[in-house]
Every structure is written in structure tokens, then in C-alpha cells.
Symmetry: C2
Subunit: 375 residues, 2 copies
């Protein structure tokens, strides 16, 4: 029997059994055949997030590729609940979205639901204006990942409600309290803004079809904990006469200490895009590894890459070269790679990425309006 | 014991006991003292809708007049669920709003919630775009009542969600499913758009304060069936730090056949602003009166103005002169006024009003943009 674990829209606990999750959520694995097709359609290249099954499950991806191969291009939708300071875990769907833009010529639509953050935090002092500022900060972080401004639109819910709300109302007509109660675990004490919110999250997955006046396929890369929003919305969207969006689900980047998911609400176990060089070094230095307690034992017995956050961060984000990654894993396994060097290498990679990212972010500050349409 | 009757946000049934309703809803009557104050503050004039207690109840009206007398002017908010073709019953809050604008120099904000109409009609084919067209038609009817375009703003929810949604989210955080379940009789099968909607209706009652950056009193004239929205919203609005809106509640214009409320969903028992001269004559001719079954009996026994739709329409809308109204009532009571003449007189008054209204409406067609801000 697998260990107990929990994955829902609001929390991830325990050691996640991803095979089990595929059955539980009723999604499909991204198997070798789908990977081959993606590679071919992408022009012979497959992103390492797919090669390594970080994006591991899907809904209707095969259908989406049918459409693509018939010349019916898709667009990409993803998003983030505003954090003000994104972690490296937040990057996964955006890296995938950017790759899809580059390889498939896909337009990208990004939603940052500032009201969700505000509505969900029952006990904090976060105002809706503060949430809105966090959203703008995230928009800069996202744009800095290299999206093409001509092919990318960032929508911030309270700014773009003029576009979103009408369509959300259409979705909401097909979603009852029972449905969101069961799907999200809401109760009688849930506020009505939170009850309604999933309708707002649904909109960008068919908005392009509304705007163009014809059905356009949509692909959503997201963390599998967010799948529930679209389990609910896909039925409603189909009733409105639009294509149900296809979805690619990612695994969770583990926390530095080995928890199931790096979370921005646990600062010591997360690396933020705003972290300084020294902070990154300090945090990585305290990360869990799969190694033995002493250098001597490590040399003798070796370690376990699956339990090693440092190996996993290389796998998920910082070592695109499969052969180099295998050398890191091998070094961990056979004990030739010492924890100190291992961590120093990762910290340098992260800091290299963050330095570039900060530069790109700074440059975009005056140009963010190219991504965010005037409300 | 009073007859059973029912008044909620969605229906009115039975013979409404307005005294009982005041207790049940926890509102205050508009007594002689308040009428005197209103008259004085209005410059010596009191609208017949107040003189005749058609507007009969209130929340915080005395506080509002305190503020006014201290120089703290109020603005007026009212609205209508889009009908596409307003009935004369719909006019009551707008006539009051216009009078308040004229006598108190009040700005007027009007909300037309096209999404509410769309969301509430579970079984019809009404699209949200069709509801939106109805809203524009109503906007013209409202503007044609003589509002000052410089002092009047009409907001249509799907067009102005860019302004409304953010504030609605703030309201919604303080309203749970339990609250709307109890207040509106919603259940597990209610759609989440309808659950959320009351937050959108709340916004114009404090929007001016948001826009001006300081607290501005608001007065809402409305049919008492809509009070429930503000029983819910006033607490939330207070928690946000704004004044709770004051309210003036009207009675219901009876239906032509004597039902408790003229409803636009019952075409034969309602008079629409779009009805032709002949239609008005035909409908009024079939209206219930308080008279006896024959002219002879009528002359002998007299009639009952309270049961007579014709008398009531004069009282609510078409005979502003109290002495002339008393003569009509007296004629009904003592039997000197025959049903045929009685009806002919009313039909002529209604048609006179509708002819003027249509002219004003036609003139405004090209100028409606002065009332509806660019989204």
C-alpha cells in the first residue's frame, strides 16, 4: 500500500505517488508515443522537462496534436496566484509555455488572479491593492523568462475583469455549489468570491476562441494540484460550445528539505527569484541530499539521487544536458560526488540563472506594458 | 391573523401586509417627522410618492438627512435587472432618484446587471449578449426620464466589470455561502455566478467613496423585495470601512388584474413603456376596479379604491395632484365615477406619458453615451 499523501488545489502533503494520482484524477500519462509526437511536431527537439517526465500526465494532448498536425494551431494558457516573489518552483509551467511558444509558434496567455490570493487568505491583512502589486511584480518575473511580447498577453484579474467577468459569468452558470464543494472541499463558511473564482480561472482557456469568433485549441501546462479547476471547468466550457482545453501536468519541485512541494509560504525551504547570491548559497548548503552522514560512509556506500534535493533541482531545472545530469546522479549513487561540491555546483548554477534573470527583469521594467494590455 | 403572503428577491405573492413587512425586514417606517424633514431639505416640496407613502419604509434615512443638513451631500444609487422593455412599475425608484437629483443635487448611479438576468434564468435560451442588449434598451428608457447626464452614470455589469469586479471581490470576502443561502433561499444546486452576484449589486452603494477617496453617503430607492441584497451587503460594506447605504423602500405597483405586483414576466397584467396606444387602452379596459358588477349597483353601493387598479395607478404614478386624486377616489367610493370613464381617463394619462417618454427616448438614442461611461 502506498504511503498516505494528499494533493488538492490548496495543499500538497506526504510522499506523492504520481502513478496513483494519474488514476485518481482520471488523467493520462505522457508516454513514449506522445513524447515522440511532441518531439517530431516541435521540429526534432524535446524539452528536458518532457524527456525527464517532469511533465508527466495530460488531458487530450493527443487530440491537440491531431489538431496541430492538421494545421489547427493551439495557444497556451497558464498562470500563477500572485506571490510578489516567485520561487523557482513557479517557473515550471512558464518554462514549458515559453518552449511551446518557440517550437509551436503558440500565442501565450497568462492569468494572474490577484483577487484569488486576496480572497483565499482569510486571516491575513493582505489588501486587494497589495495583491495587485504582487501580481505586477510576478508579471515582470514571467516576462523576463523570454516570452515574445507580440505573442504573449498577461491578464491581471482585477485589471482585466472588463474582459474576463462576462465570460466567467457564462462559465459559472454551469457550475453549482455542489460541484465546487466536492471539487475544492468548500463549505458553508466559504466566501462567495472564492466560490465564484474558479469561473475566472477558466476564462483564458477559451477566451481566444471568443475573441477570434472561431474555436481555437488551447493547451494548459500546470502543476497537477491545479488540475481540479479544469476538471470542473472543462464540462462547462464544452457546454458553451468551445473546445475543452488540453492539459499537461507537472510534478512538484520538492522543497529544499525534501518536502513534497516547494512552497512560497515556507521561505526557508524555497528559493525565490529575488534571493541574493549569499542566500542561495546558504539555503542550498542546508538542502537535503541522498548522501550518507559522513564523507567516508558516502564514499563507501554511495547515495540516493531520488532523495537528494540537489540532484532533483539539477533534474527539474538547472542541468539541461542529460549526459551531465547522469554524471551527477552517478556521482551521487557511487559516492564519488561529495555533498559540498555537489551543493556548490548547484548554487553556482542557480545564481547564474538568477543573475541573468534579474538583468532581463530590469530591462523589461519600462516595457511591461507590451505584455499587459491596457484595461 | 394576516393572510399569508410572500416577498423575497425573486417573487411576490399574496396580499402584502406592509406593516408586517416592516417588522419582518427590520426596517423603519417613513413617518410624518421624516416626511417633514425631507420636505424641508428638499426646499419645501415633497414628492407625491412620499406624500402618499408609496415609499413607505427606510434604513438610516434619518442619519442620511443628518449628514445632508451638515453639508455632507449624498448620492443616489438604484438599478434594474434588464428587461428590454420596462413596465411602468419599474419606474418608481427612477422617478424617486430623479426627484432626489433635482431637489438635493444628488449624483445618480444606476446599475443594470445583465449577468444577473442571464444567470437567474435557468431554463431559458437568453444569452448573455441578448441580456446585454436588453440592458441598453433599459438604459435609454431610464435616461429618458429626465436625468441630468452630467450628474448620472449608468453602469452595465458586463461592460463595467473592469470597475465593479475588484470592489465586488472585496465585498464577497465578507459574505459566506451560509449567508446567501439563508438570505436568498439558495441551495446546493444554485450556480456560483448567482451566489456571487449580490456582491456586484453591492458595489455602486460605496463606489463613489472609493472613487473620491473619502466616505460619501449613499441613498438607495428600491422596491422592498430587493432589500435583502442590502441586508447582506450593508454589513460587508461597513467592514470595508464605508458608510452603510441608506435605503428608501417602495411598495409594489399592483398588477392590472389586482395581483400584488406588476411583473414584466406577465405581459397581460403589465403595461410596458413600449406598449402602443391601443394596447394600453385594451389592457386598462380589462383592469380590475373596486366597482360593482353593474353601473346601477355601482351608483347605488359605490366602490373600493384600494381594490381598484385604476385608482391605484392614479395614486402611484399618473395623478400627481392630491386633490384631483381624492376626487377620483371619492368618485370610486360613492359610485359617481363609472368604470368606463374611469378607465378612459387613466388610459389617456398613461398614453400621454408614454408619448412624451417615447419622444424623449428617441432624442437620446444618439446621446446615450453621455450616461454610460466608456468601459
Amino acid at each position: 500500500m502506498p504511503d498516505p499523501y494528499k494533493v488538492d488545489a490548496y495543499s500538497v502533503e506526504g510522499r506523492v505517488d504520481y502513478e496513483d494520482l494519474i488514476r485518481k484524477f482520471g488523467v493520462e500519462p505522457i508516454g513514449d508515443d506522445l513524447k515522440e509526437r511532441l518531439k517530431k511536431d516541435a521540429g526534432g527537439d524535446l524539452h528536458f522537462l518532457l524527456r525527464r517526465s517532469i511533465f508527466f500526465a495530460n488531458r487530450d494532448l493527443s487530440w491537440l496534436l491531431d489538431q496541430y498536425e492538421k494545421g489547427n494551431k493551439f495557444y497556451v494558457y497558464t498562470g500563477i496566484a500572485p506571490s510578489g516573489s516567485m520561487t523557482i518552483a513557479h517557473l515550471l509551467p512558464f518554462i514549458m509555455a515559453r518552449w511551446l511558444q518557440e517550437k509551436f509558434g503558440a500565442e501565450v496567455m497568462i492569468e494572474i488572479p490577484d483577487e484569488e490570493k486576496f480572497l483565499a487568505k482569510r486571516d491575513t491583512k493582505l489588501t486587494i491593492d497589495a495583491a495587485h502589486e504582487l501580481a505586477y511584480s510576478d508579471a515582470l518575473d514571467i516576462a523576463a523568462l523570454g516570452f515574445d511580447p507580440k505573442q504573449t498577453t498577461i491578464l491581471i484579474d482585477t485589471d482585466h475583469a472588463g474582459v474576463l467577468y462576462k465570460q466567467a459569468a457564462r462559465v459559472s452558470k454551469h457550475i453549482t455549489f455542489s460541484i465546487v464543494k466536492d471539487a475544492f472541499g468548500f463549505g458553508n463558511d466559504t466566501n462567495i468570491g472564492t466560490l465564484f473564482y474558479t469561473s475566472m480561472q477558466a476564462v483564458p482557456s477559451f477566451l481566444k476562441s471568443v475573441q477570434k469568433g472561431r474555436n481555437i485549441p488551447c493547451l494548459i501546462p500546470l502543476g497537477i494540484d491545479q488540475d481540479v479547476h479544469f476538471r470542473v471547468a472543462r464540462n462547462a466550457i464544452e457546454k458553451l460550445g468551445y473546445y475543452k482545453p488540453a492539459i499537461m501536468h507537472s510534478r512538484f519541485l520538492p522543497s529544499l528539505k525534501g518536502g513534497p512541494k516547494m512552497s512560497s509560504s515556507d521561505p526557508d525551504n524555497a528559493i525565490y527569484l529575488s534571493d541574493t547570491k549569499e542566500t542561495v548559497e546558504r539555503k542550498v548548503n542546508r538542502a537535503i541530499t541522498g548522501q550518507q552522514s559522513t564523507a567516508e560512509l558516502q564514499k563507501k556506500l554511495g547515495g540516493d539521487p531520488d532523495r537528494c534535493a540537489v540532484c532533483q533541482y539539477n533534474r527539474y531545472l538547472f542541468e539541461p544536458d542529460d549526459r551531465k545530469l547522469e554524471r551527477i546522479f552517478e556521482g551521487e549513487r557511487n559516492g564519488t560526488l561529495l555533498a559540498g561540491d555537489h551543493k556548490k555546483d548547484l548554487a553556482a548554477k542557480i545564481n547564474g540563472f538568477l543573475a541573468e534573470h534579474r538583468k532581463a527583469r530590469e530591462k523589461l521594467k519600462s516595457r511591461i506594458g507590451e505584455f499587459i494590455p491596457k484595461p
